[in-house]
């Protein structure tokens, strides 16, 4: 039997955030908002959820005059993402096998 897909990651916005963060060292809120095409409010909620799960680290600080939020994926987040992708691949392989038989 397959492991269930990580429900925290199996959400369009959160998966998009994690996929972006896996490719960069760190990224700020504006970058994530533009790339995911979501609203600031929505993105905040998803970032909080990922942060609470320990998948990302969030740093909030004042840069000059404007507040900035910078996110970085944690080792736990990398493990969760890799495990998610592996489970996804297993699902796809089994689905393909099922279609053949």
């Amino acid at each position: 039997m397959f492991k269930d897909l990580d429900q925290l990651l199996h959400s369009q916005q959160r998966l998009a955030v994690i996929s972006l963060l896996i490719s960069v060292d760190e990224a700020d809120f504006v970058f994530l908002r533009e790339k995911t095409g979501t609203t600031a409010g929505n993105l905040s909620v998803h970032i909080d959820k990922l942060n609470e799960a320990g998948y990302i680290e969030v740093r909030k600080f004042i840069d000059g005059k404007r507040p900035r939020t910078v996110c970085r994926i944690t080792p736990a987040g990398i493990d969760a993402f890799e495990s998610y992708v592996q489970t996804l691949q297993e699902y796809i392989q089994v689905k393909k096998g099922g279609e053949k038989t």
């Binding site: 896996i22 760190e26 790339k35 998803h46």
Partner: protein
């Protein structure tokens, strides 16, 4: 606040991951060559100024020709301010490769600084009585080799071939700088070689990179 959670299947999930990773990579490819162009023109100008001064000044005054390199200090400060300002203006997403490239250039800068300081100590203090000035002939080839190394790593990391060719130009230039004394017996020719290397290794590849990414100084 309640968020909209879209249910999506495994195919959509994989597509989303691929799209996001390629978007992050796209941003990484949008680097510009302004910094390298700035250094290219500046060092070329300083090298030519050094050459002209060596040709025009006479006797003991020739030593002052090398003072032009002190201009590289405010240049370094200007470049640093430019980098900090543009980094602030841009959206922030630090890339591992950008960081690596930065570290390589910073390490090379420190290495070159130590090299120049060591040459000065050896030439002016330790070997003063034994034609210590000949130590200065090592500076150009050594720095050019180090710049070649940085350009090569930079070119390979960001997959931009003109930087790799630029590295080859610098390595050839370093060798030529060492041989030039043997051929024409004139140290000032080292600065003409340096200026040529700056054009071929920094300025042209820098403009090519800007043309590729649609930016220009």
């Amino acid at each position: 606040m309640k968020t909209m959670e879209k249910v999506f299947d495994e195919q959509e999930s994989l597509k989303l991951i691929t799209d996001m990773i390629s978007q992050a990579r796209e941003r990484f490819q949008q680097r510009n060559g302004n910094g390298i162009i700035l250094w290219g023109y500046s060092i070329m100008a300083l090298a030519l100024a050094n050459f002209v001064l060596l040709q025009t000044l006479a006797g003991e005054c020739k030593t002052y020709a090398y003072m032009v390199w002190l201009c590289s200090i405010p240049l370094f400060a200007a470049h640093y301010i430019y980098e900090v300002r543009t980094a602030k203006a841009k959206e922030h997403a630090g890339n591992y490769i950008d960081k690596m490239i930065g570290y390589v250039w910073a390490a090379s800068f420190v290495t070159n600084l130590i090299l120049v300081a060591s040459v000065f100590i050896l030439a002016c203090v330790v070997l003063r009585e034994y034609q210590g000035w000949t130590m200065f002939l090592v500076i150009n080839p050594a720095i050019m080799s180090a710049v070649g190394l940085c350009l090569f790593i930079n070119g390979q990391l960001c997959r931009f071939r003109p930087f790799v060719y630029g590295a080859v130009v610098f390595w050839a230039g370093a060798l030529a700088s060492a041989l030039v004394m043997m051929v024409c017996g004139d140290q000032s020719m080292q600065f003409i070689i340096l200026a040529l290397c700056m054009i071929l290794g920094f300025i042209i590849p820098g403009h090519m990179l800007n043309r590729k990414t649609g930016q220009d100084v």
